[in-house]
Symmetry: C2
Subunit: 529 residues, 2 copies
Amino acid sequence: MARRLCCAWIFLLLLLLPGPAAGGKLLVVPMVGSHWLSMQEVVEKLSQRGHEVVVLMPEVSWHMKASQAYEVLTYPVTQTLEELDGAFNDFVAAHLRGLPFPQNILDIYKSYVHVFNTFFGQCKDLFRSQETLKALNQSGFDALLTDPFFMCGATLANYLSLPFVFFMRGFGCDLHFKAPQCPSPPSYVPRVFTFNSDRMTFFQRVENALMSLLEHKYCDGFYSEALKLSSEVLQRDVSFIDLVHSASIWLMRFDFVFEYVRPVMPNMVFIGGINCAKKKPLPQEFEAIVNASGEHGIVVFSLGSMVSEIPMKKAMEIADALGTVPQTVLWRYTGPTPPNLPQNVKLVKWLPQNDLLAHPKTRAFITHGGSHGIYEGICNAVPMVLMPLFGDQMDNAKRVESRGAGLTLNILEMTSQDISTALRTVINDKTYKENIQRLSDLHLDRPIHPLDLAVHWVEFVMRHKGAPHLRPAAHDLNWVQYHSLDVLAFLLFVLLLSLFISFKCCLCCCRRFCGKKGRTKKAAKSKTH
Amino acid sequence: MARRLCCAWIFLLLLLLPGPAAGGKLLVVPMVGSHWLSMQEVVEKLSQRGHEVVVLMPEVSWHMKASQAYEVLTYPVTQTLEELDGAFNDFVAAHLRGLPFPQNILDIYKSYVHVFNTFFGQCKDLFRSQETLKALNQSGFDALLTDPFFMCGATLANYLSLPFVFFMRGFGCDLHFKAPQCPSPPSYVPRVFTFNSDRMTFFQRVENALMSLLEHKYCDGFYSEALKLSSEVLQRDVSFIDLVHSASIWLMRFDFVFEYVRPVMPNMVFIGGINCAKKKPLPQEFEAIVNASGEHGIVVFSLGSMVSEIPMKKAMEIADALGTVPQTVLWRYTGPTPPNLPQNVKLVKWLPQNDLLAHPKTRAFITHGGSHGIYEGICNAVPMVLMPLFGDQMDNAKRVESRGAGLTLNILEMTSQDISTALRTVINDKTYKENIQRLSDLHLDRPIHPLDLAVHWVEFVMRHKGAPHLRPAAHDLNWVQYHSLDVLAFLLFVLLLSLFISFKCCLCCCRRFCGKKGRTKKAAKSKTH
């Protein structure tokens, strides 16, 4: 603990030092919603370091507000907040409908395409706004920082011919590895939505291999509207890989205490846990609740910033389960109060998640398995019960579970009893605490804070107008060349040719030898006659 | 420049801060010779940070002296310094003999095996010294840091069951990528000794693919004695990969301004340029020479710390060429003075290489292409003329040349005219200076100094007794599983089976349909009759 404090002190001192920054100009194209939360910190830090940072924001968006820390450039959009909310609520609802296979898959896939198209509609509005485009064209940016999830930033970077940095958690398929030419052997690199770990049975490997063939198809489906617009804007046929492969640096919210170990590329920078803030004192009302919790402490429960309501039946089941533990449960929930809410459960509309998790009285964290929440759980060493809902959450949950640091529940099938058992297990079975503590110690023992790393690499791209020295030559090879199939065919041809010639030579020698022998015998025979 | 100074200041301040270290115990098994030079800095820094560092040293060795900065444990060896010198001189001589192909390859290969076996002889002596082994067994080390080039450290780490960190430039083949399960597509990752770049023609790719098949064979040849001893010591049959695959962290003296971009693994830490020291003032005699050089400045010439003498004929050719440039040439050379030594060339037995390269009057650097020298050239942005002799030097030289930052000469074939032309080109053609300046700017723009990075990861392994969370699951797969060949065979079988069943069904349907039709027709016919 003392060592960690000392580390933190060094990092703090480094942050306070007059940095080496010197006034670049950066365009930021964020993704609305929870993805913005950690990117915002990078943007603020870059602004503090003397750069002119312009955040491009649709007039209607989620979780994004104007700030004094950076300049905001808004553009008009045709969608209303209700339309965005509607698309997202439909998306969540599709995951909770519980239709039988394969209807559930088709239903969820449609909801994905719909939510992608709805949010990408804002990008279409951007490219319709001549005024905004003119302003951007005239601004002389050094680089562009974007979360490429909805593809607007990547399209804009290509349109403005700016070097760009991705800040991301990942796409819905492995294109964030395929595009930078990073090998992903399907034998031990599990694909998204398979929920496999890196140690797979034979049939899991079969499933994984099939998924690795399929995933590019469905990802193309997600981004069909984006590709159509990009082709129009860039006046050439673009594929998804065309749009993203030129990213100078991939800032990835990954850390290998949580992610499975796999090959990476030198232009990938890993900043998992960038969102873990320093512990701040709790607001008074929360401090009071925590202090009143006694020896049993508290449980923190949140399904993330994007989902604040679930069907009443589920909410009642959860409430039932929470009543079975002696801990006080702080539940972030904005839906109607379940009528069976037990005494030990406090519903709140908002909670200081990181500060609560950092409190020594916190015994467990019930989470939907979003990456921000999981990293906060890891940073603060709190065992987790995971109720994944959508996207990468089930894969995240499986990762935590495979590390022995939490238990995963299927939100569609879980009963009150399941929730209660899982919660009591992660609280009372000491191995969960030990495992998450080990992950936490490993995660926090790093040579440089992820925020400083992210800031450095964005500044690097601004200073050097990209990072072409980190771009592999593999980009210049086609599929056949990359896999050396032409070389293999050539070597095989040479081998067969050599065998054929050797065989022919042998045959020729044999014939000559046998022929000679034959003739000699014949001659000898005729002589004896 | 101001930005770089500011960066340097931050790093310096960070170094001066009371670090988070706390008394671990580290065993260091270095490689003698030039490899020790950069490792020594890590060892001294770890010692300064309060760790108990024990450096295991043969009684007879190169470039290694006792120091007050760390504890030294020597062990008796049977070889004399003359024997080591003899083996190494034979090795260098084999490269300068200029025999025709394929005799040269065989001759050089033999000299490699001889030098490996000679130096590994010291390791045999270590394992014969019961006293040393007893002392090591009783010492309770937390980890072992080693340069694995001659394999003694890796054998000892396995013997003592200690977590170990490799500090290295690379083996003579790509086993430093194969062992940690890092993919190396031969289509754009050039193999050692091919002198190819990452952009290859078809026939270079064929050569590279063949080399990638061959290299493990010759590497096994280099390490045959090491494997024999390791099998005896560890009382099981060990392969080269068995010995090294458990390394917790691979500290690699690589930087991608110099190395070709390629896939890497999360337990590889890149510390290229770790040897670039901060510029110190020049000793008086050198300062005087540099100041007297006038507007033309100086050229620094050294063939490294290991080779200080070359055949007189070559030395005279070089001397001739050096006389054609207006610069003063400082030549580190301990052999007999060439009789044609021009006025502008000063022979010295030793020179402060980094400080001379850092001097603004330095116009060019003539080097053998050892990685230490090249990084000093890059750090100080000095264009290079490269005269590679052995090992990775030709590959290094080709890398510098492919970046447009230097010119390579074939030491066997170069004439006086070639040397003179190359030297004048890198001095007078501004693109060489511009290119090396760009490489230097990119190389020095890093979030943390390589020395701090190396120290952090050694301490990490000491604190956590390894880094198992960075070990890929690929280690548990065999070759067939890793490449998904079993999955492919299964899918192919399923596909063929499906096709076969479909075909049979179709055939059956057709027969029934045709049979029915035939029968119907027959019936109809008989009715009409």
